[in-house]
């Protein structure tokens, strides 16, 4: 399996019968398809559309209810924005403070400039334990660098233990949502995946497994419990790192993360450098913002915190840059580093709802992915170049973002840096010339008026993008400016 210096691993082929919930022939990383083509395929998939609509609208409603009940949400949000901006401005200082605190508490800190270096460090640490199996806490950073694939290439099997990540892994699938990676799957599909695939990864699914959520959860519990009790090495990410004490924080819903964080003898955490917070007081703000924004809960069920190595356990922290320093240098784009991976922007995005997460070709889908991915790995590929256009700029994402990332602003900025098709450049230049002078505009309007009866109902070529599904407006007999002059 090939890998890239940045971003997630190369696409996996999927057997045809695994189709259903939208995975069928959807490409992921490194394929020369644009967002438009990926999204168009998703739009035609009715089941994917139903799964996504139901799930995103449910979480959206829950979030709205628990946010509305807080009278000081606007102040919390502003505090979150300000803390992140301050920390990012002094990131060098806080990272060194963190390193010192973690080291003092018996942990080991490693610095990884990119995905390749992080993968090499983690693989080396696992190999040093002599183990060939590791359990994983749900982590975006390790997906971003393609860690599981790298470990597999070196003879180490990584077992995902988050329920949704388990579904994705067993289905040989890709995550399609930051918080709910299997959001594109419904329970009937999950039952099939468990029944067909669990046995090849460990304890098989119980006989006669139904698609009741409780039965599916029980099957996962039994399957994972064996793994927790036998694994000696765990790999995690972290939601936050507190610089003043060197404390790592993981918030989760299932408790599976805590099993991984506490049972194994060696714990390796791979964390993006932007996850650091100066103090515990700062953490308080985010422990309110995150659960309400992500799962629509007042408080998440499990918050695990640890400082350095606890007794009998070895702890390694791998601090990951992988393009973040470059983003930090960008005056408009750097606000994307405030992101706390809550997914609120995905759940309200009408484009994400229709296109699904796979269309974005990155572990970071949706509006935040559309500004994060092109910044982290550049806009070299056709797909990455098309991501800034994967938005109608409706602004719903900015409205719900708990750290006020102006996603539309960054999208517009990235569009200015994108490669534009030659025909579009010519059309935009022509439009600019026409609109650059009122006499030119008036002449063009009169010409259109004279030809108004000749416009066909369906346009050929690029115009068909509009007229395939929508009528054109009628050209009036007279422009407004001509009426004004006349009256």
């Amino acid at each position: 399996m090939s890998e890239r210096a940045t971003g997630a691993p190369a696409p996996r082929a999927l057997p045809a019968e695994e189709g259903g919930g939208g995975r069928a022939s959807v490409t992921f990383i490194g394929m020369p398809r644009s967002f438009r083509e990926n999204a168009a395929e998703a739009v035609r998939n009715d089941q994917l559309g139903r799964n996504l609509r139901k799930a995103t609208h449910t979480i959206r409603g829950k979030r709205a209810r628990v946010v509305e009940e807080l009278p000081d949400w606007a102040e919390l949000r502003e505090a979150g924005r300000a803390i992140k901006d301050h920390t990012l401005r002094h990131l060098d200082r806080y990272l060194l403070q963190l390193e010192e605190a973690v080291t003092r508490a018996g942990g080991h800190v490693h610095w990884a400039a990119d995905a390749a270096e992080a993968n090499r460090i983690v693989t080396g640490l696992v190999q040093a334990t002599g183990e060939s199996d590791v359990v994983k806490v749900k982590s975006m950073a390790t997906q971003e660098i393609g860690l599981n694939e790298h470990l597999a290439a070196h003879g180490v099997t990584a077992y995902e233990t988050d329920l949704a990540e388990l579904i994705v892994q067993l289905g040989d699938d890709w995550p399609s949502h930051i918080l709910v990676p299997a959001i594109h799957r419904n329970r009937a599909e999950i039952r099939r995946i468990f029944r067909d695939r669990m046995a090849s990864w460990g304890r098989p699914a119980p006989e006669g497994l139904s698609d009741e959520p409780a039965a599916l959860a029980e099957a996962a519990r039994l399957h994972l419990r064996e793994r927790f009790l036998s694994s000696k090495v765990a790999i995690s990410g972290a939601n936050f790192m507190v610089a003043e004490t060197g404390t790592m924080v993981v918030v989760e819903s299932e408790g599976n993360g805590r099993m991984c964080l506490t049972l194994p003898e060696t714990l390796i955490s791979v964390v993006g450098i932007e996850k650091v917070l100066p103090t515990w007081r700062d953490l308080e703000v985010f422990l309110q913002l995150l659960p309400r924004s992500s799962t629509g809960e007042r408080m998440n069920p499990y918050t695990s915190m640890w400082t350095g190595a606890v007794e009998g356990q070895e702890f390694h922290l791998v601090l990951l840059d992988n393009g973040r320093t470059g983003v930090l240098a960008d005056e408009v784009g750097r606000q994307a580093l405030r992101c706390i991976r809550c997914s609120a922007c995905l759940n309200v995005c009408p484009v994400y709802e229709r296109a699904g997460g796979h269309a974005y070709g990155s572990v970071y889908p949706g509006p935040i992915g559309a500004i994060l991915t092109p910044q982290l790995r550049g806009m070299g590929s056709e797909l990455d170049n098309s991501l800034p256009y994967a938005s109608s700029l409706c602004g719903a994402c900015l409205e719900v973002c708990p750290v006020a990332i102006d996603i539309p602003e960054v999208l517009v900025e990235l569009r200015a840096r994108a490669r534009h098709p030659r025909s579009e450049r010519a059309a935009m230049r022509a439009a600019g010339w026409l609109l650059g002078d009122q006499a030119r505009l008036a002449r063009a309007q009169r010409l259109a008026t004279r030809l108004r009866r000749l416009v066909p109902r369906r346009l050929p070529g690029p115009g068909s993008a509009w007229t395939d599904t929508r009528d054109l407006p009628e050209i009036p007999e007279e422009s407004f400016r001509d009426w004004w002059k006349r009256s």
């Binding site: 484009v351 938005s391 109608s392 719903a396 509009w466 054109l472």
Partner: protein, 244 residues
Amino acid sequence: MRVALFITCVNDTLFPGTGRATVSILRRLGCEVDFPAAQTCCGQMHVNTGYPEEGVRLARRFTEVFRDYDAVVAPSGSCAAMVREQYPRLAGRGEEGFAQEVARVAPKVHELSEFLVDVLGVTDVGAYFPHRVAYHPTCHSLRGLGLGDRPLALLGNVRGLELLPLPGAEECCGFGGTFSVKNPEVSAAMCATKVGNVLETGAEVLCAADNSCLMHIGGMLGRRETGVRTMHLAEILARTEARA
């Protein structure tokens, strides 16, 4: 009060009736309306598609054309939001002095319902329109400008008008300027949801403060032969009993 009408290029070229209606409402309310003929376009299409140089040229032109007016009224939430929200961000890309021009002109630009309610202090414009109407708030009016319930207050005072609540009103219709042709499949899917919601209301007329969104939704309402018409807010507010 002497106000300048910023008609917007889309209304000027394709929806002159909206401009005539805006003039009629403003005159009825005692405003002296001027139409500076040198105006063309705010530059939104260029900026939002990734062509800021052309966009800044048009923005520069806009600030020159409208610099000496007390108030500028635009029958488009999207174009008003472009000037007020996005021009200040473009200021750094313009020549020297552009930032000051933006600071001078942008705050004077109002979307029509903002101007009527906030500046003139009017929510009843004496209109008469005996039809069932659903109102689509449009994204740039709702989230960009924060128009809130101003358009609904105006529609609520129109004699004979039955205002029907639109399900999922705050959701984007999928137009998004060039998004509608760069990602036509997703755009059309979003529009189909909006059209379904409009039909659910049983309205005869879909109203909004932006003709570009209405052109998109109306294009699908027309293609599907639903019989539902689209009308700009100004065109409903301009109707009086005398003209009905």
